[in-house]
């Protein structure tokens, strides 16, 4: 009966979130339409409590709960912190947007919480079944969320596409899991690794590795499985898109990292393939974004290319590579949340999402424009922002692999130019082009949304300047993953 102990040491946030879910369900059915606001407050409260409860967890020791199906090491704590803060911000985003879901606001927050729970569990899951269930919890609730505006044609279509594509890729992943189970006979990851460590394996293991990776590449919207992302991001309601592009991507990367150790006997294959996949996803993301006119679609393509950059970090299979990827993930999360926040502020008030609608907005709302510009510059990797530091740290990690991977570095560098082009396109629209109706002005008073945007921009800039603590965090989390991977890089 040591479950309570397990919860206390490893899974406190998940427990709190489950409790809030239950409370919300009850309230959903009791309260009528206009009093649904309370659910918004409760979910906020739940998230904040779980956020604070994270630092109760011990960061330096590794705890496993529920028969080793969930581990809480420093890495999973960091990931859970990112997921919870991401969901918190997404829910704050939906404050004004929720007027669109007439009498179903409560359900929206509920599904969001369930998705968040799925993501939390995914970041710590250590068992194949646990991974599958958590992944499906996250996916199914996000299918439902993306189809939430049932009267809106594009939302329906987005949900349909997301479901079909998600179903197919999770089937492929399951097929991979079955073969992995077949080869090792265990479903627990630690047992699998010990089994693989002392038995030689053959091509079957590599094939299973690819099958499994397929599922996660879908989740992270990287090269082969990325074509769903633009349509779903455009069709789904904006807060859901923000959720998909940030939190579910972080969860996807969190679990992808665990499977990297799978084919440790021939590391060469993994580095080359993952590097290839990463580069292709960057290039395709950039090329498609070049002459894109819709902001949401453009942000979708940019998130595909950013995912490619994080994948490069993982492809290097070295501690410095993984810490570079984690740091890049943090910077991506912060910057894209800021960008989505800005888009949602603009969208709720003007209900338009074309770049040309943003023309000349900098001269009516200078603060909004500067915050949005800073977030975009961070995504592009221009100095002073965290994006620049992240890109520099990542390229630094690539070079650590010796001149053999110079091709990876050069191609990644060239792609940053393409990405700069389309990010500058938005900034140009805001600052340089003339505005049609001079009178139009966003109300950018001190609402919760606007303050959080300003806060995020400050974080983007501050992280860009005071970088050392965050690099330390990325390094410790990389070390705590205990991957059977080359020890080079983090010698200090």
């Amino acid at each position: 009966m040591d479950f309570l102990l397990d919860i206390k040491t490893a899974m406190l946030p998940e427990a709190i979130i489950t409790f809030t879910i239950l409370v919300c369900t009850v309230l959903c059915f009791m309260l009528k339409q206009e009093k649904q606001k309370i659910i918004y407050l409760i979910s906020l409260l739940g998230l904040i409590i779980s956020l604070t409860s994270i630092n109760l967890l011990a960061a330096n020791k590794i705890f496993t709960g529920f028969y080793n199906s969930f581990t809480s090491d420093f890495f999973s704590i960091l990931m859970r912190f990112l997921i919870l803060s991401g969901t918190l911000l997404v829910i704050i985003m939906t404050k004004d947007y929720s007027s669109k879901f007439k009498n179903r606001q409560g359900e929206f927050y509920l599904l969001m919480l369930i998705a968040a729970l799925g993501a939390l569990l995914l970041s710590g899951a250590n068992d194949l079944i646990m991974i599958f269930v958590a992944l499906e919890a996250l996916s199914l609730s996000s299918y439902a969320l993306s189809g939430f505006l049932k009267k809106d044609k594009s939302s329906n279509e987005a949900a349909l596409k997301y479901l079909i594509f998600g179903g197919a890729s999770s089937a492929i992943m399951l097929y991979g899991f079955s073969f992995l189970y077949g080869i090792t006979g265990h479903t627990n990851l630690t047992e699998i690794f010990t089994y693989l460590a002392n038995n030689n394996t053959d091509t079957m293991l590599n094939f299973t590795f690819f099958l499994i990776i397929a599922g996660f590449l879908f989740k992270v919207a990287a090269f082969p499985f990325q074509s769903w992302a633009p349509d779903v991001y455009e069709g789904a309601p904006v807060p859901v898109t923000a959720f998909l592009s940030t939190v579910s991507k972080v969860a996807g990367f969190a679990i992808l990292i665990k499977f990297i150790g799978l084919a440790f006997n021939n590391v060469e294959i993994i580095t080359v393939t993952l590097g290839l996949i990463a580069l292709l996803s960057i290039t395709i993301g950039n090329f498609m974004a070049l002459n894109q006119m819709n902001i949401k679609r453009l942000m979708a393509y940019s998130s595909i290319s950013q995912a490619g950059f994080v994948l490069i970090g993982f492809a290097l299979l070295s501690y410095s590579g993984i810490s570079g990827a984690i740091f890049y993930l943090i910077s991506y999360l912060v910057a894209s949340l800021g960008a989505w926040l800005a888009i949602i502020i603009f969208n709720t008030q003007t209900n338009k999402s074309l770049i040309s609608d943003l023309n000349g907005i900098a001269y009516r709302n200078p603060y909004f424009a500067t915050c949005f510009a800073f977030c975009l510059l961070s995504l592009a990797g221009i100095p002073v922002t965290v994006g620049f530091m992240a890109k520099f740290y990542l390229f630094h990690a690539i070079v650590q692999e010796g001149p053999a991977y110079l091709w990876l570095l050069i191609l990644a560098l060239l792609n940053t130019i393409l990405s700069l082009f389309y990010y500058l396109k938005i900034i140009k629209a805001m600052f340089v082009c003339k505005q049609e109706n001079e009178s139009f002005k966003l109300n950018f008073d001190a609402g919760i949304l606007n303050t959080s945007l300003v806060a995020l921009t400050l974080v983007v800039v501050l992280l860009g300047v005071l970088v050392t603590p965050f690099i330390e965090i990325a390094r410790d989390s990389a070390l705590s993953i205990k991957l059977p991977v080359k020890q080079v890089g983090l010698s200090r």
């Binding site: 001269y363 510059l377 221009i382 100095p383 002073v384 620049f388 530091m389 520099f392 740290y393 390229f395 630094h396 690539i398 070079v399 650590q400 010796g402 001149p403 110079l406 570095l409 050069i410 560098l413 060239l414 940053t416 130019i417 700069l420 082009f421 500058l424 140009k428 600052f431 340089v432 005071l466 970088v467 050392t468 690099i471 330390e472 390094r475 010698s491 200090r492």
Partner: protein
């Protein structure tokens, strides 16, 4: 002496830019402009103090400053990046030059900037910080950071206040420089990695990486790093194949911005070539010196010929500045004291002259709203002061003795002719310098043709009411012509600043 801290010099413009942008600063145009001009004046005087207290004869950095975090560790400890600044032989001159030209640009931007004043002046000040940062940073990463930081203000300055197809040229400028700087990033990272391989510590400090020649980097990698740096600076100091951004950027930028662009930004390329390619890789520069000289001569002749055929005044001056920067390359390729001193002196000379010429172009454009030669003619009768100043600038630009252009050209010619950096090469130094000497004829041709076309000859009746120089422009132009004449008469004043630096540079080239 201790009140002279580089941190104030570099970050003061950034803070003032913030103050100007902040909402509580009055939005009235005149107050903003006066405040900005006043500040730039103070900054200029402050940088003059640095020059005065600078002791040219002890080598290495002076006024060393390292900003430590509160926990007394370097800026980014894990990667070995430190926020450290310092003044060296060459950076003193460039710092003073930057603050001087920024002051002049602000003085001259009264008429040509009509909208969004607060944003304009703060962007200029951010640009100043970026340039000062480039010149004084002692850390490769910091250098790269300021190098990239300088793109954004320039982008906005050209695209918001420019004329013609300004977005296109602004975007072209940013993407071009970004393309170049990426190669430099590759070089920096490789350099850091090999330093780590040999000494086990990560560091980006320029001194450590320069004076640690004891470890061996394989030749190919060293060549790659050298070329990486070279391409970034080749884009900035426009070397011919990579120069096509300059004409567009100049034609479409507003006058003060193109003054700054021509005056300081082109010098960053020259500064980089000296600081990184010559100081950090002495044995590589000896191998690549022939390439430098050949490219320099191509630059000079190619751009001079194009300038002859230009229909637009600003394009003519843009191509003439490409040709003059070719001299810097020639001087550098000579790899002897006189050559490199000549190259640095040419950077100073060209900065002053091209800033003046662009100011004149601005003056003419303001009156006549056109820069095409066929529409202009006989302005000398209506604008005598402008005519005399342009005459002085044109003569200085074509290398009239006792003006600053001549001293630079003489040093470069004597240096390039007597150097032996091209010994193993079929084309001898002497032939290449003779080829470059032909350019003084072509330069004289297109500059005097420009003077004759615009100011002399009979006047178009529509330019009847063109008013002469306004006080601002007159002050700016006199401020420019004083150093042009002064340093022309007495070049020793400036060369004594960076001669010792060049001496030990050439001495460690030899070993």
């Amino acid at each position: 002496m201790e009140f002279l801290s580089l941190n104030i010099l570099i970050f003061a413009p950034l803070i003032v830019a913030g103050i100007i942008l902040s909402p509580l600063f009055p939005n009235d145009e005149i107050i903003v402009r006066r405040f900005a001009k006043g500040f730039s004046g103070i900054l200029f005087i402050y940088s003059i103090l640095f020059m005065i207290f600078f002791k040219p004869y002890n080598t290495g950095y002076q006024f060393k400053e390292t900003i430590k975090l509160f926990s007394n560790t370097n800026w980014i400890e894990p990667l070995g990046i430190s926020l450290s600044f310092g003044l060296d032989g060459i950076s003193v001159m460039l710092v003073v030059l930057t603050t001087f030209l920024v002051m002049l640009a602000l003085i001259a931007s009264k008429k040509s900037i009509t909208t969004k004043h607060k944003l304009y002046y703060s962007l200029i000040l951010v640009l100043t910080t970026a340039i000062l940062g480039i010149v004084t940073s002692r850390d490769l990463f910091l250098f790269f950071l300021f190098w990239e930081l300088e793109l954004i203000p320039m982008y906005f300055l050209i695209s918001i206040w420019g004329t013609g197809k300004k977005e296109y040229s602004a975007m072209k400028f940013v993407l071009y420089t970004f393309f170049g700087s990426l190669f430099m990033l590759g070089g920096i990272l490789l350099l850091n990695y090999f330093h780590f391989l040999n000494t086990g510590i990560y560091t980006f400090s320029i001194e450590a990486l320069t004076y640690s020649r004891h470890y061996d980097i394989p030749f190919i990698v060293k060549a790659l790093i050298f070329l990486g740096f070279f391409i970034a600076f080749a884009v900035k100091l426009p070397i011919v194949p990579l120069h096509t951004w300059l004409p567009n950027a100049h034609v479409d930028a507003p006058t003060p911005v193109s003054m700054l662009l021509a005056g300081i930004l082109l010098k960053m390329g020259g500064y980089g070539l000296i600081r990184f390619n010559t100081q950090m890789f002495p044995e590589m520069i000896k191998i690549f010196a022939p390439m430098l000289i050949v490219l320099g001569v191509i630059n000079i002749i190619y751009a001079a010929f194009i300038a002859l055929a230009q229909k637009d005044l600003k394009l003519l001056i843009a191509y003439s500045s490409i040709s003059h920067m070719g001299f810097v390359l020639l001087g550098l390729g000579a790899l002897n004291t006189i050559g490199i001193t000549g190259a640095m002196f040419q950077m100073l000379a060209h900065a002053l002259i091209s800033a003046g010429l662009f100011l004149i172009v601005g003056v003419i454009y303001l009156r006549t709203k056109t820069r095409i030669f066929s529409h202009l003619g006989g302005l000398g009768q209506v604008m005598p002061k402008a005519f005399y100043f342009t005459m002085l600038l044109a003569l200085a630009s074509l290398g009239l003795p006792l003006l600053v252009g001549f001293a630079a050209e003489v040093m470069i010619f004597y240096g390039a002719f007597t150097s032996n950096s091209l010994d193993g090469f079929i084309l001898s130094n002497q032939f290449m310098t003779a080829l470059a000497a032909i350019s003084i004829i072509i330069t004289a041709a297109y500059l005097l043709w420009m003077l004759q076309k615009i100011f002399m000859g009979n006047m178009f009746e529509k330019w009847q009411k063109a008013y002469d120089l306004t006080p601002q422009e007159a002050i700016a132009l006199t401020f420019l012509s004083i150093p042009i004449v002064l340093f022309g008469l007495y070049p020793e004043g400036v060369t004594s600043l960076f001669l010792p630096f060049v001496d030990n540079l050439v001495s460690n080239l030899a070993l």
